[in-house]
C-alpha cells in the first residue's frame, strides 16, 4: 500500500472564516469594521506595521522608565547600606531627564563642558584677583615703609 493512500484530502480553507477570525485583532489595533471589510485591502498591512511601531515605542518607554528607577535606586543606595556612616546622604537625583535626541544630547554635553570650563575660569580669576590684591597691598605697605 502506498504511503499516501489513506492520507485525507486537504480541507478547503475558507478565506471568509480566516477574515472573520482576524477581524477582532485588527479592530483592537484601531482599524474600524468598515475599513476592515470594505476598505482597501492593503490598509490592514499598514495598521499591522503601525501596531508594531507603537509596540516598539511602548517598549522603549518602559525601558526608559526602568532606567530611571535604576538610576534612582543607585542614587539612594548609599543610604540603604546598613554599614553606612552616620550622615551619609543620597546622591542627588539627575537634574534633567535623559536626553533621547542624539544631536541635542551632544549639544547638552558640550554646554555642560563649557559650563565646567567657565566655572574653573571664574575660580582662577577669583584666585588671581585675591593674589593681585595681596601683591598690591604688599607693594603699598612697602612704599609706606620706604617713606
Amino acid at each position: 500500500m502506498g504511503a499516501g493512500v489513506n492520507t485525507p484530502a486537504p480541507q478547503r480553507i475558507s478565506l471568509a472564516k480566516q477574515f472573520e477570525d482576524s477581524c477582532p485583532f485588527y479592530m483592537a489595533i484601531g482599524m474600524t469594521y468598515e475599513e476592515y471589510w470594505n476598505g482597501p485591502p492593503e490598509l490592514a498591512k499598514y495598521y499591522r506595521e503601525s501596531y508594531k511601531v507603537k509596540r516598539d515605542m511602548d517598549n522603549q518607554k518602559l525601558w526608559l522608565q526602568g532606567l530611571y528607577f535604576y538610576t534612582a535606586l543607585c542614587d539612594v543606595s548609599p543610604v540603604l547600606n546598613a554599614f553606612a556612616k552616620s550622615g551619609t546622604k543620597p546622591i542627588e537625583y539627575i537634574k534633567r531627564p535623559i536626553d533621547l535626541d542624539e544631536k541635542h544630547a551632544q549639544k547638552t554635553k558640550e554646554e555642560n563642558e563649557k559650563e565646567k570650563m567657565n566655572a574653573i575660569k571664574d575660580k582662577m580669576m577669583a584666585f588671581m584677583n585675591v593674589h593681585n590684591d595681596k601683591i598690591k597691598k604688599k607693594k603699598g605697605s612697602d612704599t609706606d615703609a620706604g617713606d
Binding site: L15, A16, Q18, F19, N38, G39, P41
Partner: protein, 109 residues
C-alpha cells in the same frame, strides 16, 4: 490594486476591486480560487462579477454579463483579477516586506 473598466458603448466607467467583504460574499456565491482551473466556466464569471461588489454592488447582472462577454484582452484581465483577488488575503497574512522578501528567491531551471 484596482482596475478601471470603461464601457465605450454606454460611456460608463467601472472601478473593479476586491475587498475582504467581496471575497466573503464571493465565497458565499460558491467561488473558490483553487477550483478556477477545474471549473473555469463557472468560476471565471464569478470572479469577474465579484470585482463589482466593492463599488458597484447594485449593477444589474445582465450588464455585468454583457461586460464580461464584450471585454477585450480577456486572458490578461483574468490573470490581473486573480492577482487582485489574492490581495485581501496577502495583506493579512503575508508579512514579508522590503529586503526580507528578497532574502529567499527562486527560479526555474
Amino acid at each position: 490594486m484596482k482596475i478601471k473598466l470603461t464601457d465605450n458603448r454606454f460611456g460608463k466607467v467601472y472601478e473593479l476591486e476586491y475587498t475582504r467583504n467581496s471575497v466573503r460574499s464571493m465565497e458565499g456565491m460558491g467561488f473558490s480560487l483553487s477550483e478556477i482551473q477545474k471549473k473555469p466556466v463557472t468560476m471565471v464569471p464569478l470572479l469577474f462579477k465579484g470585482a463589482f461588489i466593492a463599488h458597484h454592488k447594485f449593477v444589474n447582472e445582465e450588464v455585468v454579463n454583457s461586460l464580461f462577454d464584450s471585454v477585450s484582452d480577456k486572458d490578461k484581465l483574468y490573470s490581473t483579477l486573480i492577482e487582485m483577488y489574492k490581495e485581501p488575503m496577502e495583506a493579512l497574512f503575508n508579512d514579508e516586506t522590503g529586503d526580507e522578501a528578497k532574502n529567499v528567491t527562486w527560479e526555474q531551471e
